[in-house]
C-alpha cells in the first residue's frame, strides 16, 4: 500500500496527524511531512495511514493499493 500526497492541495489541517501521528506530521510551519514518501507503507502502519488519508478534508491524500 502506498499513499500519494498532493502537496499543492494540502492546506495543513492536520487531521491526518491526529489519526496517524507516526505516519503524518505537521512541522512548525504547518507543512506536511509524510514518513513513507515514495515507499510502501509498512504493514504495522497501514491501518492508521488509511485512516489518516480518509480524514483529509481537502482530499489531498490518496491510498494506492
Amino acid at each position: 500500500m502506498k499513499i500519494e500526497v498532493d502537496y499543492k492541495r494540502c492546506e495543513g489541517h492536520g487531521l491526518c496527524e491526529d489519526q496517524a501521528p507516526d505516519v503524518f506530521e505537521l512541522d512548525d510551519e504547518g507543512d506536511l511531512i509524510y514518513q513513507f514518501e515514495g515507499q510502501d507503507v509498512p504493514a504495522e502502519h497501514q491501518t492508521a495511514a488509511a485512516r489518516g488519508a480518509a480524514a483529509c478534508p481537502v482530499a489531498a491524500l490518496r491510498v494506492v493499493q
Partner: protein, 396 residues
C-alpha cells in the same frame, strides 16, 4: 456499473417548516429508498447516503457547482462566479485568491487572539451564570473576529447576519423563505460591489488581499465583486450554528461534557461530532455535466443533484449508532459537514479554531449546562438555533 435501475421517487417537501424543524425522519426515508432518490417537489435527485454523497463531492468533473449549488435558477444565477459556484481551473484559481490566507497554516498567528477572545467572553458569561448561548456566545465570538479579519467597513456590519441568512435561504427551492430572501441577497451583493468600487476595506485584511490581487491583474473587477460574496455569506452563520448546537447537545448529554472536561484533547474530535450530528449546512446541490449514475441509479446530463450532508452524516451504513452524540466516536472525522475535495469549506480552519477555543474556555470553568428556553431559527440551508438559554454550574 450497470445502470438498469430507475430512481425511486419521494413526494414529500423537505423544506416545509415542519420538515426543517425535524428533518431526520425524511432523511432516513430517503436513505432507505436508495442511493439517489428523485425529489418530485424539488426537481432534483437527493443523495442521502454517505458513500454516494462522498463520491459525488469527490467527482467535481461530473458534478459541477456552477449553476448547481441552489435548488432554484435565480439564486444560481446570482452567485455564478464566486468560488462556491465555479468549477475546474477557474475555481482553483479563484479559491487560491480567496483562501490562501485561510488555510490552517496561514491562520496560525490568529490562534492566540482567538483563544484570548474566547477566554474573555466565556469568563464574563460564566460570571453571569445565565445567558443565551446563541446571542451571547455563538454570535459574539465570530462577530468580534471575522468582520475585522475580512476587513469590512464599520458601516454595513449590522446587516451581515441578516444578509448571510437570506443568502442561505435563497439556496433552497423557490419557496416563500427564498422569495423573501432574494431582495436582501441583492443588498448584500450591492454592499460587496460598493466595497470593491471604493476600496473601503481595512488595511492588511483578507478583503484588502483580494483587491490587491485585482490590482495585480490576477482577477477582474467583476470577479472581485463575486469573490466578496464568498466572504460575506458563509463566514458567520455556519460557526454560529455549530456553537449553538454544541451547547444544546452538551446540556442534554452531561456525561459527554464530563468526558470533555476530563480530557480536553477530545475537543477537536468533539467538534467533528457536533458537525456530524447537527450539520450546520443541510445540503448543497450539483449539476450533472453528463449522463452518469449514482450507486447504479442513472442520472441524465443536466440533472440537479442534492447532496444532503446532514443525512449522509447520520447514515447507519457508515456510522454506528448514528443518532447518538459521542465525542469519542473514532470516525467522527469522516463527517461531510464541511463538504469535501475541491469545494471543501475554505474557512473550516477558522471555524474549528473558534469552536474549539470556546469549548476549551468553557471546559475550564463550567461543570454543567442547564437548558432553558430554546428556539429554532428556520432557514432553507442552515440548521441552527435562534435561542439556547442556559444556566451554568461551576466548581466553586
Amino acid at each position: 456499473m450497470t445502470t438498469t435501475e430507475t430512481a425511486p421517487t419521494y413526494s414529500g417537501d423537505i423544506y416545509t417548516d415542519a420538515a426543517l424543524l425535524e428533518p431526520y425522519e425524511d432523511y432516513r426515508a430517503l436513505r432507505e429508498l436508495g442511493p439517489a432518490v428523485w425529489l418530485e417537489k424539488h426537481g432534483a435527485y437527493a443523495v442521502a447516503r454517505y458513500d454516494e454523497a462522498r463520491a459525488v463531492l469527490m467527482d467535481s468533473d461530473t458534478f459541477r457547482s456552477a449553476n448547481g449549488i441552489a435548488l432554484n435558477e435565480p439564486a444560481n444565477e446570482a452567485i455564478l462566479g464566486c468560488t462556491l459556484a465555479s468549477d475546474g481551473e477557474l475555481h482553483a484559481h479563484l479559491r487560491q485568491v480567496v483562501a490562501h490566507r485561510l488555510t490552517p497554516r496561514a491562520l496560525r498567528p490568529m490562534k492566540d487572539l482567538v483563544r484570548e477572545r474566547a477566554d474573555e467572553l466565556v469568563a464574563e458569561l460564566v460570571e453571569r451564570r445565565s445567558f443565551d448561548a446563541v446571542a451571547d456566545l455563538a454570535r459574539a465570538l465570530p462577530l468580534s473576529i471575522v468582520p475585522d479579519f475580512i476587513g469590512w467597513p464599520q458601516e454595513g456590519r449590522e446587516h451581515l447576519l441578516r444578509w448571510a441568512g437570506a443568502n442561505f435561504d435563497s439556496f433552497g427551492p423557490m419557496n416563500e423563505r427564498a422569495q423573501r430572501a432574494m431582495p436582501q441577497c441583492g443588498e448584500m451583493a450591492a454592499f460587496g460591489a460598493e466595497v470593491v468600487r471604493t476600496g473601503n476595506v481595512l488595511p492588511g485584511s483578507l478583503g484588502a488581499g483580494v483587491l490587491e490581487a485585482r490590482d495585480k491583474g490576477e482577477v477582474t473587477t467583476e470577479q472581485t465583486m463575486m469573490l466578496m460574496l464568498d466572504y460575506l455569506a458563509p463566514s458567520l452563520d455556519t460557526t454560529i450554528s455549530a456553537v449553538g448546537s454544541a451547547i444544546w447537545l452538551f446540556s442534554q448529554h452531561p456525561d459527554q461534557w464530563d468526558l470533555l472536561r476530563k480530557d480536553p484533547s477530545l475537543i477537536p474530535n468533539a467538534v467533528n461530532e457536533i458537525v456530524r450530528i447537527e450539520s450546520p449546512i443541510r445540503a448543497f446541490g450539483r449539476l450533472a455535466n453528463e449522463d452518469t449514475e449514482i450507486g447504479g441509479v442513472p442520472i441524465p446530463a443536466g440533472s440537479r443533484v442534492l447532496v444532503i450532508y446532514a443525512s449522509a452524516n447520520r447514515d447507519e451504513r457508515k456510522f454506528e449508532r448514528p443518532d447518538e452524540f459521542d465525542v469519542t466516536r473514532r470516525d467522527a472525522v469522516h463527517q461531510l459537514g464541511f463538504g469535501l475535495g475541491d469545494h471543501g469549506c475554505a474557512g473550516q480552519g477558522l471555524a474549528r479554531m473558534e469552536t474549539e477555543s470556546l469549548l476549551h474556555a468553557l471546559a475550564q470553568r463550567v461543570t454543567r449546562f442547564h437548558l432553558g428556553e430554546t428556539e429554532r431559527a428556520l432557514n432553507n440551508l442552515i440548521r441552527a438555533f435562534g435561542t439556547v438559554r442556559v444556566t451554568v454550574d461551576t466548581e466553586d
